[in-house]
Amino acid sequence: MKITFAEGLAKAIYESLAADPRVVLIGSGFMGLNVAARQMLEPALREFSDRILVTPVSELALAGAGIGAAACGQRPVVDLSTGSFIFQAFAQVANEAANIHYMSGGQTSVPVTFYSLAGMRGAGASQHSHRTQAMLGQVPGLQIFTPGGAEDAYGLLKWALLESQNPTVFISHSLLLGETAELDPGAPMLPVGKARIRRTGRDVSIIASSIMVPRALAAAQALEREHGVSAEVVDLRTIVPLDRQTVLQSVARTGRAVIADECHRSFGVAAEIAATLAEDGLASLKAPVIRVAVPDVPIPFSPPLEAELTVTAEKIAAGALRVLGR
């Protein structure tokens, strides 16, 4: 069965509410400004309205309420809406959710999910376009999920809501909502923490996550078609846990790595992957690693300016050609 990313999210939310009475929705925005996608949530919002809380514009306390409720036996998901608004909630996310299990010596666990519709969405400009996965990666105790496909949107969100014992930041992306994938409802999900080889290849590994996944796949197709280059695409799926093994094995096979990342270039997810290769994969590298990431520039409003900074399939392909010395 083919589903969209947005359908995957809605399905995960619906099924989680149905499966476990401890699942509570703090807010119900999830799909951002996408009117069509919002309608997919309607059945859940109607059927489980007693477990869906109307929220003031109080991100900090909403995050805290989710954490506290989780510490007291519930399984809340807090809709933090546009990814940039997580900064309003940062004190609770980074210094409460992440630490409680450890500080309590394992007494209390905090299975809360923060839903964050992050990313460069087109015209979000400087204040509505943040991708916080790398920053949050500096906070031990937080799981960070960055699905790049509809099946993982479904599987990872449902796992966070029903199975996880730890706080999770679920990084969604406006521009992924319409992406489709094949979903076999009966098949077991790839374990959380395992990267997905989306496409095998021999010449170069493209490492990607979130919105970078479809763009990396498009780049790989173009490379094949136009240059006869066989590119492997590794979809990290989760930033924490980070599946370094799969990345290292892929690069061990191909000898070359391009890292596609929608974070800003410096201190981004790509830096961590490149560092992993410099530490544990140096012998495999036949060429320098290349990061294809968003320059260290705030996101501008104007379409040609935003486009200039956007990591596209073309730029990823160009990076791949560069590591191949072409």
């Binding site: 514009v57 109080s58 260290d296 409003f301």
Partner: protein, 340 residues
């Protein structure tokens, strides 16, 4: 004595209304991407507040900033160019609609985050206090009272006795749902918004956002009090949400606003008719001035025509302005040299 003549006030209000109509049109034509917010229905607030200000004063605003900027004297053409992401815009297209600012007019930084302008504005007021002159006005919506930033800003404004006027434009409840004495915004548990700053010993006032004259008087008085060292003030402007103000993308119910509606003609849109009758501040002001013999229909039409001409030219300028070159994306990340 109000600072603006009747004709000036009408001009200022119509500039905002006609500007916003062009915005909606351009958005629907696909001339710019993304969502945006217009100021229709709240015009006299910005006009009254800015009329009470001096050049040295500072103004902070939100995503709903077009009206504030126009009232402050910003050029419609450069604003529209910015909204369209063009090189001729105030920020060369980097800002867009959400955080338009014009530093030379004392509007140095506009935030599109709910509540976030308030702390910034306390800094503006601190700068005024340090240099010994000037006041700061900050505009925000009723949802700001749901953000912790609002309270922290109130606290430091009160503790530091800052020359700041907090202007809450409360557009939250349609009149039909309003209960007497229980004017609450959607998700704030306060009975009256002004109760909250009062509890922090900030003097407050409530004013009708549909009454341009009351607004003018109110802002002149409050700004004077703040200017003379009276410390912070908070004013709740009770606006009635314009029927075209949808959460995502505004609409023009009943089409372009007609001056004739102020002079007896009816729109063929029920929601609009009710709003026009009870709440449209521009229309109510025109009627009042016509009745008082201060501005007749012909005079109003002349003003409207000139405002429309200004906006047509602004749109032309904006459409003609080139998109910025791609490498402009890398400019202005870092400030160089000294600030004026």
């Amino acid at each position: 004595m109000p600072k603006l003549t009747v004709a000036e006030r009408v001009t200022a209000m119509l500039r905002i209304r006609r500007f916003e109509e062009q915005c909606i049109r351009l958005s629907k034509e696909g001339q710019f991407p993304g969502h945006y917010h217009v100021y229709i229905g709240q015009e006299p607030t910005a006009v009254a507040a800015c009329a009470a200000l001096a050049a040295e004063d500072f103004v902070f605003s939100t995503w709903r900033n077009h009206g504030h900027l126009l009232a402050r004297g910003a050029a419609a053409d450069r604003m529209m160019a910015e909204i369209l992401g063009k090189a001729g815009g105030y920020a060369g297209g980097r800002s867009g609609t959400l955080h338009l600012s014009v530093r030379e007019l004392g509007v140095p930084a506009t935030s599109a985050l709910v509540g976030a302008s308030l702390p910034l504005a306390t800094g503006g007021a601190l700068a005024c206090k340090r240099r010994g002159s000037g006041v700061t006005v900050v505009f925000f919506g009723d949802a700001a009272l749901e953000e912790g930033a609002f309270y922290e800003a109130m606290i430091i404004a009160a503790v530091w006795k800052l020359p700041i006027l907090f202007v809450c434009e409360n557009n939250s409840i349609p009149p039909a749902q309003r209960k007497r004495g229980q004017y609450t915004s959607s998700t704030l548990p306060a009975a009256r918004l002004a109760d909250v700053p009062q509890s922090l010993q900030i003097a407050t006032e409530v004013v009708d956002g549909a009454d341009a004259d009351a607004l003018a008087g109110c802002f002149e008085r409050l700004v004077a009090e703040v200017r003379s060292g009276g410390g912070p003030r908070f004013v709740e402007v009770r606006c009635t949400r314009w029927p075209g103000n949808f959460p995502l993308w505004p609409e023009l119910p009943g089409g372009e606003w007609q001056l004739a509606w102020a002079y007896g003609q009816q729109p063929d849109h029920a929601d609009m008719a009710a709003w026009l009758q009870q709440s449209d501040p521009v229309l109510l002001y025109l009627r009042k001035q016509a009745a008082a013999g201060a501005l007749d229909r012909a005079q109003a039409e002349a003003i409207d025509a000139s405002v429309r001409a200004e906006m047509t030219a602004a749109v032309r300028f904006a459409l003609d302005s080139p998109l910025p070159a791609a490498n402009e994306a890398y400019e202005h990340v870092w400030a160089q040299g000294r600030q004026a």
